[in-house]
């Protein structure tokens, strides 16, 4: 039996989703996308998942359009499972817990779209990021044309989309496309450290912050401020908030339980 395309491991509040598919397929296979969607959904019901890391085996973020690219003449998807190959990134963006993409190889096309759907991105030195599709007559179809400009601004996004240029990790960091860069050997550790930093916070607070940020950006500032205020009052009913304040005043580390 073939190895599962998506695997999940969880330890100390940190969930790691690993894409086992190597690159060159043009896109995530429907099986892998389906599994990824199910995995993300499962994590949304799992209060113990405080942070999610998305990564792959070497080069797994690479889904360049060499192979079976979707074309106008392609038959319509016959099933939900087949259709979800095109919206794998939505599942990742739908994660309620904070997410980190560990970019261990080139993140191209759908690979980059998956990384853009994470909240934070850490790239290995030597990794390159870009969209190669437009130069081949295709366009992003898993959120790239929407998420990229929201992260780096429209001018830089169009530069990447229209030229197809691959950005080295350092340049990606300079324009805010990735949040941290690490030596390839240190990548895993750097991501783990970042995940632990976030996992040390209160899980409900982190989820509320994420919700306030993304929903707020789709609203006017006044509406966003109302949402933030209401979530912060809702948060006042949690035991973790009382624990956090008590721990601060007692000058000790808080013990958050996610309630």
């Amino acid at each position: 039996m073939a190895e599962k395309p998506v695997t999940l491991s969880q330890r100390n509040g940190i969930a790691v989703i690993r894409l086992r598919e190597a690159g060159g397929h043009g896109r995530l296979s429907p099986d892998a996308a389906w599994e990824l969607g199910r995995t993300c959904e499962r994590l949304n019901w799992d209060a113990s998942a405080r942070v999610v890391i998305l990564t792959g085996c070497a080069g797994a973020f690479r889904f360049d359009l060499e192979g079976e690219e979707p074309s106008a003449g392609a038959p319509l998807p016959r099933s939900n499972k087949e259709a979800c190959g095109g919206r794998a990134a939505s599942a990742v963006a739908g994660l309620k817990a904070p997410s980190i993409a560990a970019i261990n190889g080139d993140a191209l096309d759908q690979g980059l779209e998956l990384a853009l759907a994470c909240d934070l991105r850490v790239a290995a030195e030597g990794a390159r990021l870009g969209f190669t599709g437009v130069s081949k007559g295709a366009m992003p179809w898993d959120g790239g044309s929407q998420r990229l400009p929201r992260i780096v601004g429209p001018a830089r996004a169009l530069d990447m989309l229209l030229t197809g240029r691959l950005l080295p990790a350092g340049e990606a960091h300079a324009i805010g496309l990735v949040n941290r860069v690490a030596a390839p050997d240190d990548l895993q550790q750097a991501v783990q450290r970042l995940a632990e930093e976030i996992a040390a916070g209160a899980p409900i607070a982190s989820r509320f912050v994420k919700e306030a940020v993304y929903k707020g950006l789709d609203m006017s500032l006044d509406q966003g401020l109302n949402l933030e205020a209401d979530l912060s009052f809702l948060l006042q009913t949690t035991g973790d908030r009382r624990e956090g304040v008590r721990a601060f005043l007692e000058n000790r580390k808080p013990r958050f339980v996610g309630e």
Partner: protein, 256 residues
Amino acid sequence: MPAFKTIEYDKKGGIAHVRLDRPSVHNAYDTAMRDDVFQAMEAARDDGEVRVVVISGKGRSFCAGADLTEFGSAPSVTAAREARWGRDVWGLFLSMDKPLLAAVHGHCVGSGLEMAMLCDLRVAAGNALFAMPEARLGLMPAAGGSQTLPRSLGASKGLDLLLTGRRVDATEALALGLVSRVVPESRLSAEAESLAESLAALDPPAVAAVKKAMRHGSGMSLAQGLTLEARLSLRLAAEQGRAPSTPSHQIEGRFP
């Protein structure tokens, strides 16, 4: 002008200064300070002589965040919510027609950073330290931080600070876009003063119009924002008694 307990307020030559003044606790923000800041900002708003407001902190820091010793003292969550909107100090910041300038040094953390982000410009001393530690403490921002940071820095850089709570020094704050200038600590008040003077020299109705266009336009579609801008520029020209610089078709939102 009432006597303030937690801030200092004065004005000179069109520049009003609000100085947070609880230096023994790094100017931690409590309800008394909220009431004082609210009154001072109202005074600055209503005072025709005031053209710009500078907010700074006395002692070693700008503001180390909310005073956590007060947390949990509200009789209920619903009462806390009533109080929040009963005196909407942050809404008052955003509604000001006059430019607000934050001059920050030392700790600029949590509510302190949020207060600075509600100002129009931020100048930082080289020793300034920034952080949003709320989620690490089981809290979340409640002075607009989850809205203002992502709007200034983008969602990802904003979430980086909001989720990790990590400390950022002045150099990184400049690179991230948290502040627009960094100056040596000894020069902070002089630099802030000279920036405030240049803002005070501007035509107040023009400043008010630009602020309105930015504040309301950013939440609109581009087409709506352009119409708003055209309308504001026309009204400004009328106020100033000069011919409008905007072609009429643009104002009416149609093709020439």
